[in-house]
């Protein structure tokens, strides 16, 4: 007990990774407290998986430092207290589900007397109890992802990394995973959730960081990030130059007939409508709403590009 016990689940300082001339991650500094569900968002290739692999010691940082549960990354002892579901999940097809989990209990390593209960609990949590004795090679991708989640849960880890944990799951499976994540947080486990499924992150995460081109471009609690209003307008009759002039109303997600102004003060809606009409457009519907994470995400990426 002491410093390590009180330390945050994850703490990084200027973590940077380059592959030759390519910058995969630059200057990542963040702190994830114990028991928090932390969402790590970003488009494909933004550096999310690289960050997870750096934290797990699968990649070596080019510069910077990081600590997991108070210990420097790469520390073998700390890995006993960590669970990991990789984005590229694959398990031994020639073993059955119970044997895969026994293998992870053995490598964790857990006391053999606890294996049976740990395996049964993990299988039950992910809904694979009735397939426990089937070969993994007979599993669908979704079932293999559930198995991967079960493997990440054995040993009651204090920190769990989930890299795109619902990429192969149907809506029911996604709902189940959200419940599992909330359950982990309730028992004090910190969850680092890597995802580009924004609605999923919005529903479960306490805090998020948005990463793009290897750089964190925003971070904070949901309330801090989603403070603005988005306005969706259904229009016709606007040509490209008119649409360009609407950029004065902030970041715009242009989907043809539907324009979404991802951050627009509600007081500016009448001005927006009159401008559209003045530009020759016809307005059929105006619907202001609270900004969603997707609105904010697109806004951030738009700002980043410009």
């Amino acid at each position: 007990m002491g410093v390590a016990a009180a330390a945050p689940a994850i703490h990084t300082v200027d973590l940077t990774k380059r592959f030759g001339g390519t910058v995969a991650l630059t200057g990542l500094s963040m702190t994830v407290p114990r028991g928090e569900i932390f969402g790590f968002l970003g488009p494909n290739g933004a550096g999310k998986t690289t960050s997870v692999k750096l934290l797990l010691g699968l990649l070596k940082p080019t510069s910077g430092e990081a600590w997991l549960l108070g210990e420097p990354i790469g520390d073998l002892g700390t890995r006993r207290r960590i669970g990991y579901l990789p984005e590229l999940f694959r398990y031994q097809g020639w073993l059955d589900a119970r044997e895969v989990l026994a293998l992870h209990c053995e490598l964790a390593p857990l006391s053999r007397s606890t294996w049976k209960a740990e395996i049964a609990a993990a299988l039950d949590t992910v809904g694979l109890t009735d397939r426990a004795d089937d070969r993994v090679s007979t599993f669908s991708k979704g079932m293999q992802q559930r198995l991967g989640l079960a493997a990440a849960l054995v040993g009651k880890p204090e920190l769990v990394f989930l890299d795109e944990p619902t990429s192969a799951l149907d809506p029911v499976g996604r709902h189940d995973v959200r419940e599992i994540i909330r359950g982990l947080s309730d028992r004090g486990t910190a969850v680092f959730l890597n995802s580009h499924l924004l609605s999923e992150v919005e529903q479960v995460c306490d805090r998020v960081a948005v990463v793009d081109h290897g750089r964190v471009i925003a971070s904070g609690t949901m309330d801090e990030l989603l403070s603005g209003t988005a306005v969706k307008v259904r229009v016709s009759g606007l040509d490209d130059s008119a649409r360009t002039r609407l950029a004065a109303f902030g970041p715009l997600d242009d989907e043809g007939e539907h324009l979404t102004f991802t951050k627009l003060d509600i007081e500016r809606v009448p001005e927006l409508v009159s401008t559209i009409v003045a530009l020759g457009g016809r307005v059929y519907e105006v619907s202001p709403r609270h900004q969603t994470l997707e609105d904010r995400f697109l806004q951030l990426l738009h700002e980043e590009e410009s």
Partner: protein, 287 residues
Amino acid sequence: MPPVFVFARLTVQESSRRRLLLALVILTLLVVGFSAWGFNKITTVTRSDGTLLPHDQVSLITSQLLIVITFMYSGVLALSAAVVAGPLISSEVESGLLLSMLARPVRRSEVVIGKWLGLAILVTIYAAGSALLELTAVNWATGYEPPHPVELVLYVAAEGLALLSLGLVLSTRLSGITGGVIALVAWLMAWIAGVVGDIGTGLQNSALQNVGTISHLLLPTDGLWRGAVYAMEPDVILAALRAAGTAGRANPFSAVDPPPTAFLAWVVVWFGLMLTLSIWSFRTREI
């Protein structure tokens, strides 16, 4: 169980569950059956006067045929070791299979040593088992047994282990197919270089002899094969080869002397180097 033994057990278990072992056992039993039948035929061959071949002559023919059959076994073992070792690590890195296991408190050296150990156990069991079956069949069919059967098994197993070790090094960096092909080509080239060295010995040409010596140092498979051949040569053949002088040494299926102790010591060092290189290569690989 320490992680090294967990990975060794997994490797053996995988070969068993994927029916690699079963396929090898069935093929070996077929070869043993056919060769026993063939060897038995030697004892029924008659000379021009209608009499059976004398026992000494049957033994001589059997000993030379056994060398050829053992060459086939050592080839199967070497090919299998190269094909299995080639993708041993690379395929699990590429598929993502190793990712969740490497996030456990496991050293990469433990993964490398464990996998090598698992395959080494399989290679040794196959070499010993197939040799036991084949030699028993030969003995039953002709009454012949080679002069040094234990050394024979050790040399053949060591040849398989050498290919396994080379395949493992390549597997830490290259794809399974690439590593397997390189290991196979290296094995064939080492054998051909050994033949070139033989020709050098026969012609007393030191440049050609050096080709053989250097190849034995780089990849000791051919040197180990010569050890296996020596373990099978009857004294009569050895005496005849020695009497033939350097010409008697110019043959990839004959060996006049056992491998020098210095070479055997080098083989031990070579295995150590290969494992060290594999560990270093995998440890420094970014996954």
